[in-house]
Symmetry: C2
Subunit: 433 residues, 2 copies
């Protein structure tokens, strides 16, 4: 296996419960794994040395809730009310999605994510095989899920059909591409699913040891309507069906109650905060501070680009770090380091990937570099604050996954940007003309 | 005078009360002035033609509230409560500011602003002569003001001394550098000033036809304490002193009452919204929707980088466009076009510069270009939404002021980035060591 030393770099790493910044350090990589992080020159020799002077190395960002191909719906029906936007704009376009359009969408999203420092993501959408192939070929990491929905009460598990599809998908793709691609189970949400099917799906998820990914109490309306219909909150309802007996990522959690939070904590569910989407769609402020105070693992996601309008985790970190201060009137609530952990280590835990999310010896080499030699990143008095409050996604000058550089200084090493942009143009012509 | 045609560009311009997007158009420049905007090739001939295919042209952004040299305090005391941050971190560092440090600060800020598409700003800080010289030499536009403060009641106007200094500053620098540099008057805030001095200062501001720039009701505490002390809100207090008889920029206006808003409307005061700072410091949500509904001219600003932590107006637009939806639960409250107007035309009006803020024949050529050929800016279904929700400051590939290109593709045409970065390093060493 080839070895590489990233030398003379600033290194931001999580150690002993907090972020530590090494102003000038060394990060050694053996194959796909970090074998050294420190201030001293390592004793090992490396095949190649890459001088990273003026750069800050940090763990790759983990986007725990996305619908990647929706980058093709970027800007659709902006500024409309939720229902109008969803039913009159988004759904009619989604009806026109074909495999070739979907491939263009997944590829366009991966280009954007790599350029803005995301190294792993958890996605739920359609045609998951395409996601697996695109992510696999790109060298990125993803937990892929096909959404299960069922609008007709009483539909049998067989008639719904998702269970069998999902089993086949799992058998074919789980833990493929050196483990970079994993298969999650996904139930869209309470209001788009049926209890018996969810119970069965959750059971099969558990048999396979997969993660579960769903939307939970995103809007006040859906939260209240569930209580009206079932006499339970969505969290109680899912929990009673055994869904949370799996490692679960619950996107949004804006309207969860205090007792819901107790359930999430007890079951080890990860709420995934999507601040841009929650703000833009007017969904509200998730009780992040309560989650953090309770020690609930809380992660970050972009949601789909149709409601964001990008998949840039730097913006997500920034917005997450400030809005809760504004909402509560307390500037000490969300600290930069807390948000950075949500976007890295907490995300890794949510994905059940315990070997990413930090820069430590023995972990997979998912590393991004930020070009510090720019006016807006000087001075670097507090590296975590610089990354969260001052940096932009475009400040990422290198993105590495599993020890392999995928993106550097605007150039993609594993993807053909020109071909993909051309495919995306064709896809957009098909969708909107 | 030399003439230039920007050809084959997307052009975003405000016409007949709304933003209009020309997918492929032409923008002609004669000296410092736009002489053509349209879809057709103009009949005039131009000395040079610059092919801007794949780029979007839009008006330069106008930052209506900044303390530019505070870029040197970027990241100081992040995540602290306001009073602790201000009194124990910011003020002791500001005490160490020297002319050479201030020059480095102004220059560093101008580098950052130009690279992220700001062409004009309204600043209040210290050593304003340095601001004038830096901005003048850089080719940028700025309304400069030295802050007046007075903590000791009964101090005479002469003993405070700011009036005479300001008169000399005005005489020397107002309307210099081809009118790019103007001198504003500035009273820091109600809680840091004395009524008699403010009345006199306002009178002298009016005699000179200058703008007034102040902080207004940023925090609940300052708003309430003014009522307790004077029996008036800060807006009532300033108005009764004649301060609003000048074209006034009132930064923050988070806690203004409904009757305060009536005063601002009647007096033509421009509230300047600083969403990042208001969120980060936990100040709260300014009643922007009420302001807009009442037809009050409302602009945007970054505030100082110590509470932001940058001077990037793209982030300001983005955050302004989403947080009010989240706060009110109404996704239709802040539309992309409204926010874009706040950052351009409304800012121009606040600065009393009626020849910038839009791309129209006869206006000064303050133009920025966005590089659309990037994955995160595709598709461009709605240009205003793309700029506000999806773009980053770094997507600016050209910044032009008064018909002169100041920044293009990472290169500064009028400023020596290396020298300035070296000066900034020296300044930071002095400040923090």
């Amino acid at each position: 296996m080839s070895t590489m030393l990233l030398s003379h770099a600033g290194i931001l790493t999580f150690e002993n419960g907090d972020w530590k910044y090494i102003p000038e350090g060394y990060l050694g990589i053996n194959g796909d794994t970090i074998d050294y992080v420190g201030e001293e020159i390592p004793k090992n020799t490396y095949d190649t040395e890459k001088n990273m002077s003026g750069k800050l190395l940090m763990p790759g960002l983990i986007n725990c809730h996305s619908h990647a191909p929706m980058v093709l719906l970027r800007g659709v029906g902006s500024d409309l009310a939720l229902q109008d936007w969803l039913f009159n704009k988004v759904f009619p376009i989604e009806d026109k999605l074909t495999p070739s359009i979907m491939k263009a969408g997944y590829e366009l999203a991966v280009l954007e994510m790599l350029a803005s420092g995301t190294t792993s993501f958890t996605d739920m959408y359609m045609l998951p095989e395409i996601a697996c192939e695109v992510v696999g070929a790109a060298g990125m990491r993803c937990n892929v899920a096909r959404i299960m929905q069922e609008f007709v009460p009483g539909t049998s598990y067989e008639a719904n059909g998702r269970g069998a599809e999902q089993a086949a998908l799992f058998d074919k793709y789980n833990n493929t591409f050196d483990g970079r691609v994993r298969i999650d189970y996904s139930i869209h949400a309470e209001y788009t699913s049926q209890p018996e099917l969810n119970a069965q799906y959750a059971k099969e998820c558990k048999e396979r040891g997969a993660c579960m990914h769903l939307h939970l109490s995103e809007t006040k309306k859906e939260h209240q309507e569930c209580i009206d219909k079932y006499g339970k909150t969505p969290a109680e309802w899912f929990n009673d069906l055994g869904v949370f007996d799996n490692p679960t990522l619950a996107a949004h959690c804006v309207w969860v109650s205090d007792s819901d939070l107790e359930i999430l904590k007890e079951k080890g569910v990860t709420p995934v905060h999507n601040p841009t989407s929650n703000m833009k769609l007017g969904s509200g402020f998730a009780p992040i501070q309560k989650m953090l105070d309770m020690g609930i693992n809380t992660a970050l996601g972009t949601d789909g680009a149709a409601s964001n309008n990008n998949v840039n985790m730097f913006e997500e970190m920034h917005i997450a770090s400030i809005i809760h201060n504004g909402y509560t009137g307390d500037p000490e609530i969300m600290k930069a380091g807390t948000v950075l952990k949500m976007a890295t280590l907490n995300g890794a835990k949510a994905q059940q990937r315990f070997d990413i999310g930090n820069l430590q010896k023995g972990m997979k080499a998912d590393v991004i570099a930020i070009d510090l030699e720019q006016p807006h990143l000087f001075p670097n008095l507090d590296a975590a604050a610089l990354v969260v409050y001052a940096a932009q996604g475009s400040d990422v000058c290198m993105t590495m996954v599993n020890g392999k550089i995928l993106y550097e200084n605007g150039v993609y090493l594993t993807m053909d940007k020109e071909r993909i942009m051309a495919s995306a143009k064709d896809a957009v012509s098909e969708l909107y003309n």
